[in-house]
Symmetry: C2
Subunit: 257 residues, 2 copies
């Protein structure tokens, strides 16, 4: 299996603290060492880093841990291969373009016998069930809405339906962003936290590293972190319910979508 990490904020924020703990699970505190990746939206552009090396050994992961790339939407993934060999094209997140926006996707889980017809504009380059699911989702979204980009609420309704359909084949925890919103579907296990004023100290679960968020934020900042297993040992993380889709905009959960 794999682990997911995502961030959605109301102001561009770096992810160095969370990624430092998360990357340790890529071969040190946990066994997800068959590649990793991270994508940062910056405006409408995307910085996309993937690596088939273990995150703990990767010079590119070392850069991400030390170089503050600021973003309002980030999606990261560490891989333990279940389907598909260890190779760059099988590393998450995956990126495709639709309606003049990039869409970034990562998946945790295992889909059995999921082999939908992919005849349209989105085809997998690698051999994972995850990329097949992403291409299917994009294909069906284009089919549903045609040439005109729909509202975030309409996308959410569509995702609720298609995620349930895909999750019937196995485990489908997934993160998806088009830079306007972060969509998160939980099939079995995901946690989140919304950090906002008054900010507190946080200590990583995977290393003896602590941060005083009050010292590095303004009172207006709001940051949501979504992750498979909680990253810190002294904060209250909320569990997703199985089958739940949550939409994050400006660092908080959107109600009534």
């Amino acid at each position: 299996m794999c682990q997911l990490l995502a961030m959605n904020c109301n102001t561009p924020t770096d992810i160095m603290f969370s990624f430092t703990g998360f990357a340790l699970r890529g071969g040190n505190t946990d066994e997800h060492k068959d590649g990793w990746g991270i994508a940062f939206f910056e405006g409408n552009g995307v910085r996309h880093f993937v690596d088939h090396q273990a995150a703990v050994d990767s010079p590119i992961a070392a850069l991400i841990k030390s170089y503050p790339i600021k973003s309002k939407n980030v999606i990261a993934h560490i891989r333990k291969a279940t389907q598909g060999v260890i190779s760059l094209e099988n590393c998450h997140p995956f990126v495709r373009e639709c309606w003049g926006r990039y869409w970034v996707f990562a998946h945790n889980g295992d889909l059995k016998d999921f082999d939908p017809e992919l005849a349209g504009a989105y085809r997998p380059v690698g051999s994972t069930d995850s990329e097949r699911a992403f291409c299917y989702l994009m294909q069906e979204m284009r089919k549903r809405f045609g040439e005109q980009a729909p509202s975030t609420a309409a996308i959410s309704d569509f995702l609720r339906q298609i995620c349930a359909e895909i999750a019937a084949y196995g485990t489908f925890n997934m993160t998806l962003s088009n830079s306007e919103a972060l969509f998160v579907h939980c099939s079995t296990k995901l946690h989140y936290i919304v950090r906002q004023y008054p900010f507190t100290m946080a200590t990583l679960s995977d290393d003896e590293i602590a941060i005083d968020f009050a010292a590095v934020t303004t009172p207006q900042d709001r940051v949501a972190i979504i992750v498979t297993e909680p990253l810190t040992c002294n904060e209250n993380w909320t569990s997703f319910l199985p089958g739940e889709l949550k939409i994050f905009i400006d660092g908080d959960v959107v109600r009534n979508t």
Copy 2:
């Protein structure tokens, strides 16, 4: 305007020497400081780095200069903005997927009033003439060949025609790769060199750095480097002719395509 750099090899090779000279033109020895980018194919996967900072100031460019990422097809670009603001989404190279392969594209030149209808699966995310040209090229290629990936020879014939069509709007020096071949169209200015046994010493034009290729290669290696302006001062670079499309496979120019 901008500058282009590309590499095609018969064995995975790093581009640190060439990129070191090239990146200096991104704000030091030349004025192309409005962003840069580089994409490396690794198998069917792509490592894609873009940055709106000048290449001479970028920590990510520093990593590329010092970390040997080995690839058979590389496309790089340094930008001096003519159309489109300085932002991440306007940095080359651009990446799209077609027929289950990634396609990587970079452009040097300026296209006037180039505004084709982009109604299909490929739409620009940024605001450059270059990304419009890439999306148009991909759209027309899909339209021409349908759902089945064509041969490299058929792609070459198609590109000869579409590059001439696009070049009617201005300057269209471009590099394109799908990991199987590197396609290069010259509208005004491009140079290339094929390095092979017996390898020699090369000295950068933009810095006092020399390399003895004999010490870092095997006799079987063959590497083609394509660049706007020659990167070394003691090798014989060949100029492209205006209107010429060359196809590089396994580190050499393909004849009879």
